[in-house]
């Protein structure tokens, strides 16, 4: 019994002698404190960009949303529940079939090569800014009656009649999801390669989009290819046209080109680094990295 008591005494003494968490030894997490750099130099240094006198200069500005004593807007109106998370919603800037046809007619897009987001952004006629939650292109049905090009196009969002319009001309259309990092790489590949980082592997679509991208009726890239073929036939019967035979097409090799679900650029695999100066592709050799980028 005394032996145990001795141990507890020792333990208590040990604990008593240990350093305590107190105000004098508490520290913020590394990087949590941001230092404000006062503006310097002849142009900006005199008032440090804060103007002359008053609340601005003395940092005594009223709090955000305060309207000088008036019942403020943010309290006057109740929350709009249907706007919840609207700033996080995925956006798909539209591109009409008319615009696409025009790009092809003017030679801005080559229909003999597969068309993806990079091709469209390179025309400089279509803009997609991932910093504004733009996740790619939404191909719309404007000009559906005059669309005549045979293309292998990859879009991020589309509708049934647009799919029918593309497939009627013997083309191929795929709905493909890219996560925001991949979109950044796709809209400006040169800028991406200048960062000197490996091509990322594309993530899977989020929970609320998985249904669309696994649906053969929308030609989802995660759908079963056999079911997609069935859906092609079904759609042709619905809209009253004949599905052309691909294997006899002179552009068969181009039309059957398709990216891997993890792939971002045609001909480039995730994990590779493109060096524009040396005009070389650098690939990881170690097994661990290879496995990561191929999984």
């Amino acid at each position: 019994m005394s032996y145990i008591a001795g141990i507890t005494d020792k333990a208590l003494k040990l604990i008593a002698s240990m350093p305590r968490v107190a105000l004098n030894n508490l520290k913020g997490l590394p990087g949590s404190k941001k230092t404000f750099q006062r503006r310097r130099g002849r142009e900006k240094g005199s008032k440090h960009g804060r103007g002359d006198k008053g609340q601005g200069a003395r940092m005594t500005l009223p709090r955000l949303g305060f309207e000088g004593g008036q019942f403020p807007f943010y309290l006057r109106f109740p929350k709009e529940r249907y706007y919840e998370g609207h700033h996080m919603k995925r956006q798909y800037p539209p591109l009409s079939l008319l615009q696409l046809q025009r790009m092809i007619d003017l030679g801005r897009v080559n229909p003999d090569e597969p068309i993806d987001l990079t091709t469209l952004c390179n025309t400089k006629l279509y803009k997609c800014s991932p910093e504004h939650h733009h996740y790619g292109v939404n191909l719309t049905d404007e000009g559906i009656d005059i669309f005549q090009a045979k293309v292998n196009i990859e879009v991020q969002w589309t509708t049934e009649n647009v799919i029918a319009a593309v497939e009627r001309n013997g083309g191929v259309i795929t709905s493909r999801f890219y996560d925001i990092q991949s979109v950044m790489a796709l809209v400006n590949p040169e800028k991406f390669f200048q960062r000197g980082i490996p091509i990322p592997k594309c993530k899977l679509p989020p929970e609320d989009a998985i249904e669309y991208y696994t649906d053969p009726h929308f030609r989802g890239y995660l759908a079963d290819p056999e079911k997609v073929a069935e859906a092609r036939l079904e759609l042709a019967q619905k809209y009253g046209y004949e599905v052309p035979d691909f294997s006899k097409d002179p552009l068969y090799e181009m039309l059957k080109q398709k990216k891997d679900p993890r792939q971002i650029f045609f001909g480039l695999a995730p994990g590779w680094v493109v060096n524009l100066k040396d005009r070389v592709i650098l690939k990881p050799k170690a097994q661990e990295w290879k496995e990561y980028y191929h999984s």
């Binding site: 960062r195 899977l204 696994t214 060096n275």
Partner: protein
């Protein structure tokens, strides 16, 4: 005037391009020409020009033996010309300089992001190990762990979607069943409602009749018609209520007395009966 001096100095520098003195003079005059007037400038140039020529004649011999001497000096001049005093890593970025930043700089050496950018811009000639472009083993481990914890697999996503769909279908089906069941009960409920409404109407009518009757009574009592809000009407009702109460009380009392009488009667009868029985028993005993 400034242009003139510059032109002259330029001719001097072209003539003595190999000499350091003339280059230094060029710089000197270029920087400070605003302070000199043309005559002093001429004197100065002619003085140094003479010297420079003599120096050039000696240096030409030196140059042939030490060719590496020239860039060193040019560097020195470049250093003099660099008045911005920026560190090399920042000066290298300037558009007219546009050279590779010094990799020995701590701020570059410790920054993987910048090293990657430098490799991307200058390629193999930068001398950077290209392995820098991929995450380290420790970083890769963290990335993998994050992906394992936060990114659901395809199968997970599909399963979740199917579950959600099934739940939605189930909810829809349940709702439809509930609606069908309630619709079947509808005629019965409607009939009940009408019945309830009729009963309510009847009760209301009776109430009205009763009120009318009271009003009629009041008219008979006072001899003229009065409104229900009239205090006289209320008084009459109160009196009537009092009378009713009295009558009720009297009735209750009467009932009580009646009940007591009946009880007494009953008990008397019972007693009489018992006495009769006892007499009979006694008679029987006597007979025995």
């Amino acid at each position: 005037m400034g242009a003139l001096i510059r032109k002259e100095v330029l001719t001097v520098t072209i003539k003595t391009a190999t000499t350091t003195m003339a280059a230094a003079l060029y710089l000197l005059v270029r920087r400070e020409h605003s302070l000199l007037n043309i005559s002093t400038c001429h004197v100065l140039i002619s003085k140094i020009f003479g010297k420079a020529l003599s120096v050039a004649s000696t240096e030409t011999n030196l140059e042939s033996s030490q060719p590496e001497n020239k860039p060193k000096v040019e560097d020195e001049i470049a250093n003099i010309r660099n008045v911005s005093n920026l560190p090399q890593r920042l000066r290298a970025k300037l558009s007219h300089v546009n050279e590779m930043p010094d990799l020995n700089d701590d701020k570059i050496q410790n920054n993987t992001r910048i090293l990657r950018k430098i490799y991307a811009k200058y390629g193999k000639s930068s001398g950077i190990d290209p392995r820098i472009m991929w995450p380290l083993r420790s970083e890769l481990k963290v990335i993998k762990e994050d992906e394992r914890d936060w990114d659901p697999t395809f199968q997970d996503l599909v399963d979740k979607m199917k579950q959600k769909k099934l739940a939605e279908q189930k909810e829809k089906k349940e709702r439809e069943e509930r609606v069908a069941k309630n619709m079947a009960m509808m005629p019965k409920w409607i009939a009940e409602y009408h019945k309830r409404e009729a009963a309510k109407q009847l009760a209301q009518n009776e109430q009205e009749k009763k009120k009318q009757k009271l009003l009629d009574e009041a008219r008979d009592y006072y001899g003229y018609s009065i409104t229900p809000q009239d205090p006289k009407f209320r008084q009459m009702i109160e009196e009537k209520a009092l009378e009713e109460k009295k009558a009720k009380k009297a009735m209750k009392k009467q009932q009580k007395t009646e009940r007591a009488q009946a009880f007494l009667q009953k008990q008397l009868e019972q007693k009489a009966k018992e006495e009769e029985e006892e007499e009979e028993e006694e008679e029987e005993k006597k007979n025995k």
